[in-house]
């Protein structure tokens, strides 16, 4: 009880600091870093959504870029049609990604382990190749956004507002994840991770439980994708490509698989390291690789484990 209260108050402090950050950056004239911080928040959201599938659901999915990219493309395509409202585009992105995940999951969840990794990768690559072959989706060039989504009453054109909206969505997701882990559904997932066969024998509809987890993670990823299209100013095929899936997976592993803050820590660390290294060396990927190796070897629970954040998954 005490530990959880301390965790909650730490969370409030962090949230307060995160809220304060863009204004502080503005005050010292370093507006550039608001963009970087926003990108960290958006990828924290995407990595958290993948961590839900990998760490909570126990399914190593290697096609998460598909859902992230779907979110970005739905926003861009609707913008092309003159529909700029975020209140229409974002929910529609969510629905599209959920439907795609239900279809992909229904097939993929018949397999496990390596086969699941490969089949989710295959589906994601299929979507990538379909999208780049579509003229109206911009093909290889992607689809630029004429403006940012209109999220009345908030003005997303302001970088600070986009930052705050991203922060709010991330905070809400983390809170939801906390509640979910302690809920009946969360306990059922904990059982699934440890012994799927036993859960089936107890009478749990195993595949349906996993499908819901997979689809929920996908839906959250599409929201991150919608945000990223806004920040990036376009939906690009790179967001659908397998390297994007790989990067999200690296963030999850780096941050801590199945740790509630794993996705956040991983995203902040990876983007932070890249940002710093990009100034010093051209070979930043090499050092990121070494950092990942070090984490896997010496801190298998990721950065979250290193900081002693309470484990949620068992």
């Amino acid at each position: 009880m005490k530990a959880s209260r301390r965790e909650s108050s730490l969370e409030m402090v962090l949230l307060g600091a995160a809220l304060f950050l863009p204004f502080a950056l503005q005050a010292i004239g370093e507006d550039y870093y608001i963009g970087l911080a926003t990108r960290m928040l958006i990828f924290a959201l995407a990595a958290t959504s993948l961590n839900f599938i990998v760490g909570y659901g126990g399914m190593v999915a290697f096609g998460h870029a598909a859902f992230f990219g779907i979110g970005a493309y739905v926003v861009a395509l609707l913008m092309e049609q003159g529909i700029a409202s975020a209140w229409i585009a974002w929910p529609l992105a969510l629905v599209t990604a959920t439907l795609a995940a239900l279809a992909i999951g229904a097939v993929s969840l018949r397999t496990r382990g390596v086969y699941f990794i490969m089949i989710t990768l295959a589906f994601a690559q299929m979507i990538y190749y379909i999208v780049i072959s579509l003229k109206f989706a911009g093909g290889d060039d992607g689809l630029p956004l004429a403006q940012r989504s209109a999220l009345v009453p908030f003005d997303l054109a302001s970088d600070t507002v986009l930052y705050c909206v991203s922060l709010a969505l991330l905070a809400a997701s983390l809170l939801a994840l906390k509640r979910l882990a302690a809920s009946r559904y969360g306990h059922a997932l904990a059982g699934l991770r440890q012994n799927e066969m036993r859960m089936e024998a107890l009478g749990y509809p195993v595949r349906r439980l996993k499908l819901v987890c997979f689809a929920a993670g996908a839906a959250l990823a599409s929201l991150a994708g919608a945000l990223f299209a806004n920040q990036n100013g376009m939906a690009s095929p790179a967001q659908l490509y397998w390297t994007q899936s790989g990067m999200l997976l690296v963030m999850v592993i780096l941050g801590g698989v199945g740790k509630r803050y794993g996705g956040v820590l991983g995203a902040v660390a990876l983007l932070g390291i890249e940002e710093i290294l990009a100034r010093i060396t051209e070979h930043s990927h090499f050092y990121v690789g070494i950092a990942l190796l070090a984490v896997v070897l010496f801190a298998p629970q990721g950065l979250a484990g290193l900081f002693g954040l309470r484990a949620r998954t068992r």
Binding site: L180, A182, S183, H187, A188
Partner: protein, 252 residues
Amino acid sequence: MSPIFEAIALKRHFGGLWAANGVDLRVAEGELHALIGPNGAGKTTLIHLISGGLRPDSGRLLFDGADITRLSMHARVARGITRSYQITQVFPRLTLLENARLAVQARRRDFGTSFRFWRPAAADYPMIEEAEEWLGRVGLAEKAGTLAGDISHGEQRALELAMALATRPRMLLLDEPLAGMGPEESEHMANLIASLKGEQTVLLVEHDMDIVFRLADRVSVLVAGRIIASGAPEEVRTHEEVRRAYLGDELP
């Protein structure tokens, strides 16, 4: 007594081997029905066929008058057929109480769906109280807070039984519940099984003949994928074909 469960001409082969070669089996409501047979007779296959882990090539399964041949495992549990496993299958990194609660939570008809995402499961008091009762029933109440991976093999088997019971099955399949147990643990488990008599329909697969003939109301003998005898323990013990199958040396 009318049968609650009936297998009719059940067949299943693996390559050239007929693990079930026309099995006919009836289990009456409320009885403790033991299934015995020499190694390789197809007992485990039969348990899988009944619980839904395997599908038969042909034949039918009736439970409570309904055809369940094509139902998935979890759908059969919902109808009331729960199995325990030969090899211990508990959740090692959950506490005993959490293990038992997961089993209770699985009962949708009493506690509703597991698709609840917001309310803490720890506040589901009726569920927890019932989980505690089941732990008490098998003598594990004091270890409710221990991780299931940290208790002895015998205790894990008892936990396994508590979990199977917590799904409130109408027919319980026990697959070698005494496997790998020492004499003391075996005696405890045998007493637990005996305590179920009269209130719980049980289909018991067990190698220990002493226990089988001590506990069972009826015994069926499976040899080479077929039931060659089925009846009261005394009838089966003296059955000519059964004695031949066991070469006379295993039956007490």
